[in-house]
Symmetry: C2
Subunit: 532 residues, 2 copies
């Protein structure tokens, strides 16, 4: 999410989500902290512009529209259709208006003249923006690569970028994802070569897993299906919906007679069938994950199947993807993935393409965007190599204001720009304290004892109740539970002073100490003492 | 851990540990399940042979020696020294005997004549074994690569491998780690070129992080320190100990005047200092992790520092490593890592080297070892490419018996061969149930209510006590806690039938339902009802 301000006017570019790291326990996803916008009633936000339809650029739209209704959205046809689904699901479709433009079209958003330009990426209808401001032209690349032979034949708009350069680019905001990778990202066409081999050789069914939004990959597989006389079935709700939307909008070209409903594949011979599926990140609830564990409603992996994992593994998902591949092997499938065969290429520019982008736009100032700090740094190193002076480059993380005018670029104040965790129905209510508790519980669980005692003497009435989860397997822990009861007895019997709080504290401390000595674990320990 | 049996005689090769995956909550490490050996009193185990000193080959030694005392160990000098430390720490040094051999030496272990051969890897003193059995010669590669210009000058013993081949190799057990990687692993020397650049250019301190056991890397950095007039300090307990051991054994050659104690580096100018440190995997408690978060006792990162992360990221650690790099950048350091510069190379063979190993040994039968199933499969594909017939290859996961004789190879019975989790003082007591509870607690925490009620009427006596962790931030959850109390009241007041179990079940169910409706989260819910 980027906000571009000039005087009292502003536009927003993209409203994405992040996926939680493995140690962000229980977090479903992360949205940007946009408090800054709520705290600026003086600011006139004229529109939200979308570069493309991926979750990390659109996923927070419902949260933003709910907080900032009536701000119009601007998107290309496919992106608009995907946004519409999200807003409908959140019952917010009537809170705003989606303005659709075609890649390459110009339009005004408040006082800003916007010039969109097509870029190649891994979903159709991707654009970057030229934004005309009183101080000069700002160019935002969006997510891009320079694929000269894209599947849909639509290349990045070199001419527009060169034209920007002729007019003078004040500031370039450039995608940094692959800034550590030398060379040039291979064309999507290389994947065709790999698929052609696979389709030629596979004797049984072929199952191809990729991102639900990877329309270009669906097109490639559909083309292969036609070439090799196979029917294509789609598995997975989101992919099914996306294919429907993309076909309706004409960005995906599949004949009706190629497609077969997933419920009717039993009528198709294995060597005449290819299935596209979700779950390329090893998500246990998506199609590939269910196939790996044998828990899919209608599909089974059988020996003879060829399964292609046709997607980049998002950092943090390496373990689950690897486990999924291993399990599919166990079920007798032949599994093909990068680097076994080039069945996927990145959607992002590598170093030489980033240099080309700087050459074409020739900006005065440069701000690397879209990536972790390490990627931003790597991109800024490229900019220096390209002759942009170090003082003309600003490397910042989320939440920093950058001030640019005709003559200079400065890093300004820090505004709220952290992560806002979404967990179930809660937005931003999970903070460090709750997360830390989850960490402790995840590591060693908890134990709780409830004891009834005589107020005066501290003598136990009846047996204390012991509840524990995630600590030890209670059924095998007889000896330990005896020690727990013994500790309770000892502590309470000795506690003549009947201040309940004190008794509880003593009990908890003694139990913690005893449990650590016995098990070398540190579960959370709670004691409840009812005095009678 | 591999067991080789012939008649009633057996030897064990390596006793390693695995590191837990991100979702193995609270697990410290994983040891092999060696119940099979305990259940076979008829089996005479003559020795445990070690290929090299890495944790994934030695880490479980104390567990094995404790369970199977008096079996002699066989190891090269450095490996033996590292094993000795582990056994001393576990107070088991007197339970067994460590026999030291030099790479290339032959020795008898029970009826087996063992021929050790040197291999290059990423720690000195690495070997593979030729094991002479009544059925023929079995060759175990250990972890290897063919580095023709290793730092210590000692190459893999091609001659021995060729001699094995001349005599005829029945079975090859081959390292599979990099079986998916084409080409040939680069020599450790390539790292010298990268380090030379870094040492030439760095204006301030240099900090190099790598594995504590990576003696070859320490040698390289020490050589650079000498070349560029820097002093070398070692940070991190395990690395300090390993350096001491390796120098004592003569496998690490560093002049005393190069070394400086970490406590005395304040007297050394920044551009005359290099520090080697642990923490290359982003472990929060190791040196690099502490530097990243500013929590090291005696060291601080300062602008002008050059920090080199000189290690492969173990799968599963990508996020923490990346976060560490980002934080070091934030602290003003320049951070250098692969792929920014080739500051690390793998210690394992790539595909062409695996093919070379098969060519040199020319085995009749082949079993890929050391890797996930995907890597074993990839290695077996290479073997087929090399002309080993598919029926002569057995691809199995841990816990499968393979039966080989002169004429055939068969996959036999499955024996206990799973993961045994070690958590604190507990070995194998954490099973699926406890892990599943930890998962639930990690995701949504728990809530517990303790209520005192009149036995007959179910009327609450006093306020119920509510304890919750990892669910919501209680201080901000007034409204929710009001609903909790209301639910308790409603359920108990309506519960005329005074069967406590029933009351508790109703209470827990109602609370779960209410909490899910309000928060879309599913914490564990516990109710304790004291009837009066």
């Amino acid at each position: 999410m980027t906000v571009i301000e000039s005087g009292g006017d502003a536009i927003i570019i993209d409203t994405g989500i992040m996926f939680p790291a493995n140690d962000m326990l229980g977090v479903d996803y992360i949205i940007p902290d946009f408090r800054y916008l709520l705290d600026r009633p003086d600011l006139k936000i004229h529109g939200i512009l979308y570069t493309h339809g991926h979750e990390d650029h659109t996923g927070a739209v419902a949260h933003v529209v709910e907080a900032l209704p009536s701000i119009p959205l601007y998107a290309t046809p496919l992106t608009a259709a995907l946004l519409e689904v999200k807003l409908r699901d959140a019952r917010l479709i009537n809170e705003t208006q989606i303005n659709v433009f075609k890649p390459g079209e110009d339009f005004d958003v408040g006082p800003f003249k916007i010039e969109s330009f097509h870029v190649t990426h891994s979903i159709p209808d991707c654009v970057g923006f030229g934004i005309n401001t009183p101080h000069g032209l700002v160019v935002h690349t969006g997510d891009y690569k320079f694929d000269n032979t894209p599947i849909d034949g639509k290349r990045t708009d070199y001419a527009k970028l060169a034209e920007f350069s002729r007019r003078g680019v004040l500031l370039l905001l450039g995608d940094s994802t692959n800034a550590e990778r030398p060379g040039w990202t291979q064309s999507e066409q290389i994947v065709n070569v790999a698929f052609d081999n696979i389709f030629r050789q596979a004797a049984g069914r072929i199952i191809v897993a990729t991102f639900a939004s990877h329309i270009a990959r669906v097109q490639q597989v559909a083309d292969m299906a036609r070439r090799y006389g196979r029917k294509l079935a789609i598995a997975g709700h989101s992919m099914t919906e996306n294919v429907k939307t993309a076909r309706r909008l004409g960005v995906l070209d599949i004949d009706d007679n190629i497609l077969v409903d997933l419920n009717r594949i039993s009528g198709v011979l294995p060597h005449q069938l290819v299935i596209m599926a979700t779950g390329s990140q090893g998500e246990p609830s998506a199609v590939l994950g269910r196939l790996a564990t044998g828990q899919h409603r209608s599909l089974d992996v059988t020996p003879g199947d060829t399964i292609v994992v046709s997607a980049h593994t998002i950092p943090g998902n390496e373990e689950t993807v690897s486990r999924t591949i291993n399990k599919l092997f166990q079920r007798g499938a032949d599994v093909i993935y990068d680097p076994i065969a080039p069945v996927h290429v990145s959607g992002h520019a590598c170093q030489e393409e980033m240099k080309l982008m700087m050459t074409l736009t020739n900006p005065k100032f440069f701000v690397p965007v879209h990536g972790e700090l390490r990627h931003l740094r790597a991109n800024s190193r490229l900019a220096v190599m390209m002759g942009i002076p170090q003082p003309n480059i600003a490397v910042v993380e989320n939440g920093m204001v950058i001030e640019v005018d005709k003559h200079s670029i400065r890093v300004g104040e820090r505004i709220p720009g952290g992560y806002v965790f979404v967990d179930g129905g809660g937005v931003g209510d999970i903070g460090r304290a709750v997360m830390r508790d989850r960490e402790i519980l995840a590591r060693d669980g908890f134990i709780m004892v409830v004891a009834n005692v005589e107020a005066e003497t501290g003598r136990l009435i009846g047996d204390p109740e012991i509840i524990s989860r995630g600590f030890v397997y209670l059924k095998d822990a007889d000896r330990l539970m005896t020690s727990v009861k013994q500790t309770i007895n000892d502590v309470l019997a000795g506690s003549r002073a009947s201040r309940n709080g004190k008794r509880r504290e003593m009990l908890q401390e003694s139990l913690s100490r005893m449990l650590y000595n016995e098990t070398k674990r540190r579960p959370m320990v709670f004691g409840v003492i009812n005095e009678h």
